[in-house]
Amino acid sequence: MKEQLAELLEVDEVKDSDVLKDFECWDSLTILSIIAWASENYGKTLLAKDVNEAKTVGGLLALLQ
């Protein structure tokens, strides 16, 4: 799960405490990619608002549990 997220965020690895907004590639398209990824792999329907409010990698992963 974290590996795929790292891939989407264009880095080697991610930690729970990483702040989403601090990723260099963080933009509306990355948010869209995350929404698509969550739907495809975890059957979760996320809104852009949910992803933004998750704040950190850990927060985001919690949405997919």
């Binding site: 989407l8 509306s28 398209l29 990619s33 698509a36 990824w37 809104l47 852009a48």
Partner: protein, 267 residues
């Protein structure tokens, strides 16, 4: 109704269609949204062949139609392009019908940014949006299967076809392909069959419902669309015109129905 396409449908008679005099229209994507609206409206004057995957929703559409018992369901997953022609041929021969009009309204849309794009996504999208429509036209042109019954075809494209938007590369490419297909077939199948496309702007249906969860987007749309929000019935009206003899000298054209969205360059 009661004009144009309707009158024409009523007048048509095929000796091969024993149970009635009405012309038949095949509508893919009839289980939802625009396709459902068209099925219901055309059923007042035509015999409608409803295609989709979801049997329950296809049946719901049928019950909304005029004379439900007269309307036929062809349940088939259009993504399965390899068996499409044989499945459709079996359906046609089982029901002994001839089809005069075809609307390809089934559509597959995933808005994925480039980094989420895969070969599989391209294949799924093109199978449903482009290839299945082309193979159905091919079948409907086959004299053994459909005599020379086919008269007019409308492919449902999208106003993205001539433009661009973030995360729309795959879907946009498929709708561009729909229109390219439409033009070449319009030339190849003339003068007997006319082929045109309708390019809707954003309309609230199952396909786009997730976008309308966002009030900000609705507000943005209200300003970007000079004529405000559109409805499925607006798309039906354009299709009705293109299928009818009123459009007898119109082929190979993109008919944009988007409330002025794509001509609006207000800054």
């Amino acid at each position: 109704m009661g004009y144009g396409f309707g009158d024409e449908c009523r007048r048509r008679f095929y000796s091969t269609v024993s149970m009635e005099n009405k012309a038949c229209i095949l509508i893919t994507g009839a289980s939802s949204g625009m396709g459902r609206e068209m099925a219901v409206r055309f059923s007042a004057v035509c015999r409608v062949i409803l295609n989709g995957r979801d049997t329950k929703r296809l049946e719901e559409t049928r019950q909304l139609c005029t004379n439900p018992a007269e309307q036929l369901i062809w349940q088939y997953d259009l993504a399965k392009v390899e068996e499409l022609e044989s499945s459709f041929a079996a359906f046609m021969s089982a029901h002994q019908i001839r089809i005069s009009y075809f609307v390809h309204c089934a559509g597959f849309m995933k808005t994925y940014p480039l980094k989420m794009v895969t070969a599989g996504l391209f294949q799924d999208t093109f199978n449903v949006n482009v290839i299945s429509g082309a193979l159905l036209i091919k079948s409907l042109m086959n004299r053994k299967m459909n005599d020379t019954a086919l008269k007019s075809v409308v492919l449902i494209s999208s106003n993205i076809s001539n433009f661009g938007a973030k995360a729309f590369s795959v879907y946009g490419a498929s709708k561009g392909a729909v229109d390219a297909l439409m033009r070449s077939l319009a030339v190849e199948l003339a003068p007997r069959v006319r082929v045109n496309s309708v390019l809707p702007g954003g309309v609230r249906t199952a396909m786009t419902e997730h976008m309308y969860q966002d009030q900000e987007l609705i507000n943005r749309m209200a300003t970007a669309y000079p004529l405000g929000l559109g409805r499925v019935g607006d798309i039906y009206e354009a299709v009705n015109f293109l299928l009818s003899d009123k459009a007898r000298w119109v082929t190979g054209q993109q008919f944009i129905v988007d409330g002025g969205r794509t001509i609006n360059i207000t800054g």
